[in-house]
Point group: C2
Chain length 889, copies 2
């Protein structure tokens, strides 16, 4: 392997990608090519990071030589040299992964400084305090990151010195003070590591490069990658960049900015600027910064240049940019550019605006919005009718509203999450160490920090409500409580946060589902033009059907008729039906259920108008409608022992007997769906009767014909479908004759057993449509019982990297997906008119939708709330296929 | 469609097959071609039968015309004519399906006789009594079969007449008597049907043809086809054959014979002959016949001709023949020839003898024996050490021994079978109506009939022990008992029958598994030369391993280590292991199990010598080793209510808690096998430790290296295998280092989840071998829980023709088989050294073995007792493939 070390302009000339250069290196290289003011520097590619680990965390001779050679070129380029008495070169050594992992890996600033150079710097800038402050900053970072001295030990040293010298803040420490701190820092390092702080810049450099590479595998980074599903194999690049100083003088400063508002998407400069500060000061959220527009007063030339650069960057990168910059003595330096993270609302607005500005095409706009971002906008908001009093107000860092029990630590958050609680994590501020706690929480509230602070950035990425800088909040960790607005809120009490306006409320505030806004409607309108898949909704009630129509579903893909039995008055009837001793008795109870089912069907047909509605005939095993063995058995034993109530005992014994009789070892693979119906035809007959009565009545009333699709479940063998269809057809025929009308209906099959998929050629003979039941199909294909494995060992498997994700959330392409591909292709070959859809939970999952699109399905059906997501995902799937070709083998 | 009606010689000239001509028609046509004395006749093909049903059970004009034309030719050929005053033609109209269905369908004899012709016949034969007897026989059959008058009504008429005329038997009825009976029969028909007996022979003929066709769908025939899995679509041919009379005079008679002994296979004429009788008299088993050799005295010319014909038939048909013949006035007529049914022992002997005689090749000999026939010989016999007293002796009609509860009717047999009882059906004699009862029974005992009686033929076909003609048995249906040898045996009492020697014993007699005999060893030796598949055995104990070696298995394909835990002293340890609260405690119990497992492994390695032994690490879910919820819960409830024993309560509560904790909704798809082991590595570690200690000790003692194959179960994802293999390899490495020796071992995977099969390409990376667990694979592919569906609705599904057979007995080629084909092909492609086998119960099923052979597997593993069957089936599979090409798509 040849080593890969480039100057930024070399990297840009070679058209190296973000995968090779990392996000930071790529941005710097591109900006260099655009002629923007970028400090000169070198990038070591991500490939070198992987090789570094393969070689046992060693910088091997060839790499060392190449880096040294490029440093030589760099020195000539900028006219500065390491250790030079006149023009000493100081550099930053920065990590930069292909995917943004803010704050997860390490960076060393001011590298190249030492006992001599600090003096040179002092002389050259004429600012002794700046020079010694710079040296102590270097030692602090280098000591912690490269030499492994715990960060808080440096803090203690500094705190102690400030105490001794009665300095209230860093500002009060003078040059001599920093000099003293430097001395103590160096002693601390000696004491902690047994080594002196290296004085030789190249030694510092290679140690720092090793440390940055190594930080790819620190715990924070691993945790972050797990949460964001970033591949471990990507590696980080290392950027060695000439230092510029935002803390040099009064014409210096540093800032972060977005080319558009990352919260709303509005087209305006948005960002924060700190005078006389280095970049870390902004990101850490410790000092409260100015809005970036304030630069127009403070450093007007730099600001004007910056405004122009914004335009150039957007034109070049064709996306909203998140940049970091430094002004050194009034001169602007661009330190970073990358596509900016944004709220869901902003993502949509920016995509639409950019398409309208002709920066991107409508297709690209559709691809720019993550389907989950649309989902986020569709989730809970505080009920507008609510007018309770808030107890605090902070910055609205990440939109959406949530309530939950208050927790104060990562550990508490994780424990409460495991118990299934809803949680609001309350912290003074968050750091990368808190990632797992944020992930476990439903919302985050901090008392410090700004809109670009850690908590704000991370929660926006996760789409969780977040309020930052709510200064009214005073946390008392010992008492496990916080006070705000005169109230004490204890650990475990419920609060509600509204990330949309920054208000905090005590207790649980009523939340509402939001409506689609104009931007979403525009975007989904575009999406609908690109998508090939139909999007239907799963709906068991008229309310859900109405939601489906509101979200512009193309029909209902799944009505679970057994869910209709769950209402209490119906449950009793169905229990009696199961307990019945004769066919006649059973039929009499079915007759009671029939008008109830008919009523539901009729109302839903009415709502769906002329859109298709797929009604699945009863699927669950009968025993699910009876009490559990562990409930009824102790009751019977007790009645037997006490001998008190013989009537009650007889009744309970009858139920117990039925429970035992219907008990199955593996009910998921027992007598369900079609297996039940072929033995007890009367259940299907009742249901088909109810469907056709409903349809006939509606036709008589409205003159409109509903599109009836009747679906059979649990089929494993084509002959099951043959016989079930015969029952349905006979009853349908009878009902149509009785009503003297013809009703359009079709009969199809769930494909939820592997065998149904494998024998699709035969199944297609008796089916007008297939609908994949991916939940059951996943269960059977893995032989995973979802109820048993999902909590028990799927998380363990993900942890151990046995599986990459939960196959019940994201479709398993290799196994379950293969069955779906087989069944779709062979089913359609055998019956070219066959309609093929999917109605499992995967129907609303974007990655799964991408698969379904490639596999040639006709539609997906998902929760009515997920329909907008599915519409967008379906469009993206089709657009990606066009751009990249089919994504399945 | 053209009609298909042929004279026998025409049919032979056209080379029509048995499928077209039916078995009887084919035999007659072939014999006609061979120049043997066959009465002239016509055959209507099986295709016409199907068309007859398609046209609504009508003989359509074209068919009628063609039959009439062929009758014309026949009349000219034999010089006899229907209704002719000088030479009247009488014919039999016989059914004849492609597969032998003895006695299942109908036949009409003596057709063409009427009020006039009976007189002609009387004059022509000079035997008035014969003529009228012939007429009454015709009326009796025609009345019953064609006109639908219940048979017993004719019996009543005859009985009544005999009573009136004081005739003891038919022999005592004279010509006038038969004349009177004819009159009364005709009256009976008039009275029962409102129609006269048709007098016109062609009218009789077409009515009879319709009746014979129709009998294809009578209940007996349907039942028989279901039991023998004969396709309903085959249809029956109809044979119209000139009558010859075995009851004409004292030089006449009728017989059935086999060209070799169907019971032992010995090469000698074997059969029975009745003087002055028609064929039905022999088959019905009412009169006790002579052995066929007696003909040498009675009709010596016919006998000599018959002996020559035997040779010709065997040379032509290259198989043992079962023939029917009639001697009319000393002249021999061949009425039927077909491949003879035979006992398993005879089948093997005949195949070997014929190969030695060069009549057939050894390959054909191997194909001649049904694998199940070998099995039969390998099943139970009475323990030779047993010397109890028998209570009756009959003819040894079908070999093997069985015990069971005595039942007397079909209904009782079926009911007892459903309860899972072992049953012996005891009847005076059996008729085709008894088929379902015989099928339900473990053995049959009759008090009447001979070696070719119904019971004898049917049980030999089914391979069930049967004793016939045990005349000492007196059945009293009212008392529901029988007496024999001075004992009363009541309904439900147990008896034992030995079909090998005809002895009946009271009570349950000890049975033993038989050893392989010389013939079987010869045949299996030939089989081994043809087979491609290796045959291994599933063995969990040293005893089973020894049986595997005895039956010449090529190794052990499955050791179920969890079965080793089932011994009571071990069960307690493993229960404690499960109840353990800490890893340490758990390990301490595992350490106790280890020497026990080691001992078993060592003994089995010793027995298996250098043959491979596949040890499957623990598979069952832990909760299977704890009490059932319905056992422990009532105990706890009772102890709680009575408040008696607090120590006991605490103990039981601990168990109950664990039962509840380990309870799974669908344990078959829960935390089993590798899923358990990846979380509790210590279980695999203990087992691998025990395996390697056993192997090391044995190597030290004997110097011989066992072939260790370690198998992981329940794998659904290649990474599970990766991680499990890592545990195994680490422990193996440690053990080998500890013992200072290298032990050959390989690691492989069960393929028992659909996903494992679908992702075989990835699985093969970590596997030295695959072994299909077809039981679990079938469960998951169908989503059928065997425990739940096999009794509950698989029989119902077979009944309703939803599925053709139980997929847990015979592999489902379309679904499960497809997964096996995919996994085998793709696994071997990814890893060319991959060994592929199967260790589910299907490994011993011949039809499944045929599939496994075609799918390219390397070996099958089955019960040690099934190994001989599997060896034969594997040879046949390979031979069939060579003859017919691959049998899978």
């Amino acid at each position: 392997m040849t080593t890969e070390v480039y100057l930024f302009d070399e990297a840009a000339d070679k058209n190296l990608t973000k995968m090779e250069l990392g996000g930071k290196g790529y941005g710097l290289a591109e900006m260099t090519k655009l002629g923007l003011p970028v400090p000169a520097g070198i990038v070591i590619t991500t490939g070198m990071c992987n090789e570094f680990f393969e070689r046992g965390k060693v910088i091997w001779p060839e790499l060392k030589a190449d880096i040294s050679a490029k440093i030589e070129v760099l020195q000539n380029l900028v006219g500065k040299k390491f250790n030079d008495k006149d023009n000493p070169l100081l550099v930053s050594v920065r990590s930069g992964a292909p995917m943004s992992m803010p704050g997860m890996m390490d960076t060393v600033l001011n590298l190249g400084i030492n006992d001599n150079i600090v003096e040179v710097l002092s002389k050259k800038t004429g600012d002794e305090r700046f020079a010694h402050d710079t040296y102590r900053r270097f030692i602090q970072l280098f000591g912690k990151i490269v030499m492994g001295v715990p960060g808080e030990k440096f803090d203690h040293v500094l705190e102690k010195y400030k105490e001794e010298s009665s300095a209230k803040s860093d500002i009060d420490v003078n040059a001599a003070g920093w000099c003293e701190v430097v001395k103590r820092y160096k002693e601390l390092i000696k004491q902690e590591t047994g080594r002196e702080l290296p004085q030789e810049p190249t030694e510092q450099l290679f140690m720092a490069i090793s440390a940055v590479f190594s930080s790819w595998w620190n715990n924070r980074a691993i945790e972050y990658r797990k949460i964001y599903k970033i591949q471990d194999s990507l590696g980080t690049a290392v950027n060695i960049v000439m230092m510029v100083y935002g803390n040099l003088d009064d014409k210096s400063g540093t800032g972060v900015a977005f080319t558009r508002d990352p919260s709303t998407g509005e087209k305006k400069v948005y960002g924060e600027f700190l005078m006389k500060a280095q970049g870390e000061d902004v990101v850490a959220g410790i000092r409260t910064p100015y809005p970036v527009s304030k630069m127009n007063e403070l450093v007007p030339d730099a600001y004007k240049q910056l405004e122009q650069i914004f335009g150039k960057l957007e034109t070049h990168f064709r996306d909203m940019q998140d940049i970091e910059f430094t002004v050194e003595g009034g001169k602007l330096y661009m330190l970073q550019t990358r596509n900016g993270k944004r709220t869901a609302a902003a993502a949509i607005k920016i995509a639409i605006d950019m398409a309208n500005e002709k920066l991107i095409t409508p297709g690209e706009a559709v691809l720019r919005v993550e389907p989950d971002q649309v989902q986020r906008l569709l989730y809970k908001q505080i009920d507008p009718k609510f007018d309770g009093e808030s107890i605090a107000k902070g910055l609205p860092a990440s939109p959406g509203a949530a309530y939950g029990k208050v927790v104060f630590t990562v550990k508490e958050a994780q424990e409460a999450k495991q118990k299934g609680d809803r949680i609001i994590l309350v912290r003074p501020e968050t750091t990368p160490e808190d990632i797992a706690g944020i992930a476990a929480s439903d919302g985050v509230l901090t008392s410090r920090g700004g809109m670009t602070s850690h908590a704000a950035v991370v929660t926006r990425g996760m789409g969780k409500p977040c309020i930052v800088g709510a200064e009214a909040i005073k946390i008392d960790f010992d008492k496990m409580e916080f006070t705000a607005g005169g109230k004490n809120i204890k650990y475990g009490e419920i609060i509600t946060v509204d990330g949309g306006n920054g208000l905090v409320y005590p207790g649980e505030v009523p939340l509402v589902e939001p409506k689609l806004n104009t931007d979403i409607i525009t975007l989904l309108g575009w999406a609908d033009k690109f998508k090939r898949l139909g999007i239907r909704a799963n709906a068991d009630t008229p309310t859900m059907a109405a939601k489906a129509v509101e979200n512009m579903a193309d029909g209902i893909g799944l009505v679970r008729t057994e869910r209709m039995f769950n209402a209490p008055e119906r449950l009793e009837i169905i229990q009696n039906m199961i307990l019945a001793d004769s066919l006649e008795e059973r039929k009499s109870f079915l007759e009671k259920l029939k008008p109830m089912q008919k009523g539901d069907f009729k109302e839903m047909f009415r709502i769906m108008n002329d859109m298709p509605m797929t009604i699945r005939l009863i699927d669950l095993p009968l025993h699910e409608f009876l009490p559990k063995l562990e409930e009824i058995l102790p009751q019977v034993v007790e009645l037997r022992i006490t001998g008190k109530n013989n009537g009650e005992l007889a009744k309970k014994e009858r139920i117990l007997n039925k429970v035992m009789q219907l008990k199955e070892y593996n009910p998921m693979m027992g007598q369900r769906g079609v297996r039940l119906a072929l033995m007890y035809n009367e259940i299907y007959q009742m249901q088909v009767g109810a469907i056709f009565e409903a349809a006939a009545e509606l036709m008589k009333e409205t003159g409109k014909a509903p599109q009836v699709e009747i679906m059979i479940s649990q089929v494993a063998e084509a002959n099951e479908l043959r016989d079930a269809k015969a029952i349905v057809d006979a009853e349908a025929e009878r009902m149509m004759k009785e009503n003297g009308m013809k009703i359009n209906y079709s009969v199809g099959s769930m494909i939820e057993t592997p065998r149904a998929a494998l024998t699709a050629t035969f199944m297609a003979k008796y089916a007008n449509f297939f609908s994949f039941g991916t939940n059951d199909l996943t269960q059977a294909t893995y032989a995973f019982s979802r109820d048993d494995v999902e909590a028990k060992f799927i998380p363990f498997y993900i942890e151990k990297k046995v599986i990459a994700s939960n196959p019940f959330e994201t479709l398993d392409w290799d196994g379950v997906g293969r069955l779906i591909s087989i069944a779709t292709a062979e089913g359609k070959k055998a019956n070219p008119k066959l309609k093929v859809g999917i109605c499992g939970e995967h129907g609303g999952d974007p990655k799964s939708i991408e698969f379904f699109n490639s596999a040639g399905l006709d539609y997906v059906s998902c929760s009515p709330f997920r329909v907008p997501v599915a519409r967008l995902a379906a469009a993206q799937a089709e657009l990606k296929k066009k751009f990249h070709g089919s994504s399945t083998a």
